[in-house]
């Protein structure tokens, strides 16, 4: 109950200060992303931490797309100072990622931004787990693109000695060095694993069995670790498995925390219901979401579809409200709706807009 109350409190705080919280979250995402780029590259002397902080503040105010565009421009500029051909390579890869993936999922750009910083701090599985729990399978595109960007940044770091040895104007050597690291088997496997982890968590969350939310939250890290271990054997790549295991454990903890705060379900009040309309019988299993206000409601207050049908006549879903609504512990629908109820209904429907 305490976590449910805390979750409700967080939601109410967010509802009140949404604009500021969103801007602050964008600022942090931008800052982490820019510093990941700076740490991996640092070829352009003009880019210093104060410049990055100012850039993060400005872009956070402008929006997530601006943060992404600025971050990608920063990568290209840094690569250009390493070698003009490295800049061209980075531009081509980022443009390809945009066309193939990011253009299709503009609403999941946060996953793209946070993937590289998550790899840097050693907990990359957190992003796919959160994507699977809170978003859909489509966010796998954004998360996989973020992984590709991390490997691009890593490639700059690894390719510097080769490029310096060959000379920065030797286009063949520069491109070979970068493509071996940025488009190698390790990068390819990591992108696939990221996408698979998002889809795995999402599929588990959508399963109908009991405690599927909890299992999905905890399984994110396990899926991540197992896939990396399997890919290491399959592709013959030496992944850092102890680090991956620690990252997986951290992501499982993060997933469970999110589940406890925002996705709590009260299985003890599960009801199997039956109702009908002219054409069909409906067999519905209603599992109520646990909120701070519904946790202590007695069983008798829970609405039953058959009763609703008797009151409101034969009408199916339309007359009785949907199963989810029935499960939240609200009072049954009455023909006469008072002002407060009408206001609440209006707010609910407007929120759905």
């Amino acid at each position: 109950m305490l976590t449910a109350a805390f979750g409700e409190k967080l939601k109410s705080i967010y509802a009140r200060w949404a604009a500021y919280i969103d801007a602050a979250a964008r600022f942090l995402a931008a800052l982490f992303f820019f510093f990941s780029v700076y740490r991996a590259t640092g070829f352009w002397g003009m880019i210093t931490p104060p410049v990055l902080i100012v850039a993060a503040v400005i872009t956070a105010c402008a929006g997530t797309v601006t943060v992404c565009v600025t971050g990608c421009a920063l990568i290209i500029a840094e690569a250009f100072f390493l070698s003009p051909f490295a800049g061209a390579f980075a531009a081509c890869e980022l443009l390809l990622l945009y066309i193939l993936f990011l253009r299709l999922v503009p609403e999941d750009l946060a996953a793209f931004l946070l993937m590289a910083p998550a790899f840097s701090v050693g907990a990359p599985a957190v992003v796919p787990t959160v994507c699977g729990l809170r978003r859909g399978c489509a966010s796998a595109f954004a998360a996989a693109s973020g992984t590709a960007v991390y490997y691009l940044l890593k490639a700059f770091d690894q390719a510097v000695p080769e490029i310096q040895e060959a000379g920065k104007n030797d286009y063949a050597a520069v491109l070979r060095a970068l493509s071996e690291h940025a488009l190698g088997q390790e990068a390819f496997a990591a992108c696939l694993i990221t996408a698979a982890a998002v889809c795995g968590v999402y599929i588990l969350r959508r399963c109908r069995f009991r405690y599927s939310f909890e299992i999905a939250a905890a399984a994110g890290g396990a899926i991540w670790f197992l896939l990396f271990a399997a890919a290491g054997r399959l592709f013959g790549v030496a992944f850092d498995l102890p680090r991956t295991a620690v990252g997986g454990a951290v992501s499982s903890v993060a997933g469970l925390l999110i589940q406890l705060l925002f996705l709590r379900i009260d299985y003890s009040r599960t009801r199997s219901l039956r109702f009908e309309d002219d054409d069909y019988y409906y067999y519905v299993k209603a599992v109520p979401k646990m909120t701070a206000f519904s946790g202590n409601l007695p069983q008798a207050e829970f609405p039953v579809f058959d009763e609703i049908n008797e009151e409101g006549g034969k009408g199916g879903l339309g007359s009785g409200g949907n199963a989810e609504g029935a499960g939240t512990g609200h009072t049954p629908v009455h023909p006469e709706i008072n002002q407060a109820e009408l206001e609440k209904r209006l707010e609910d429907s407007l929120r759905n807009l």
Binding site: F89, L95, I99, R176
Partner: protein
Amino acid sequence: MSGKISPLRLKEMICLAEFEQGGGKRAIRICQYGRSGYIALRMIISFFFAAAAAALLVFLAASRDLDGFLLMIQNADPKRLLSAAAVFFVLAAAAYLTVTYMKADAEYRKAEKQVRIYEERIQMLLRFPDAEDPSRR
């Protein structure tokens, strides 16, 4: 007419205005087109993106051994090379346009639903009485 507006009505007007200016802006723009017109427009744009993506894909794939790739092109039979390029492009574009079609269709359906609810709310707002409007009592 009384000067007072019901707080509920005001709240709803603010919510609708927020929808118009925020998340709903795009949905309203999408619904200005018919379904097939919107999907066709998205697919035409995506065709050019697919062409660019195919070129970038070839460049990145060849970047590991760019000299070898250029030499291979120089020595290859132009007819076979062109037909291979055409087959690759057609397959890549078909895959990309299929995804675009699905995405545009889903987008249009979602926007249509949102705009329908929005219009219903506007109708409801017009019918909703002001708080202290004696003419409505």
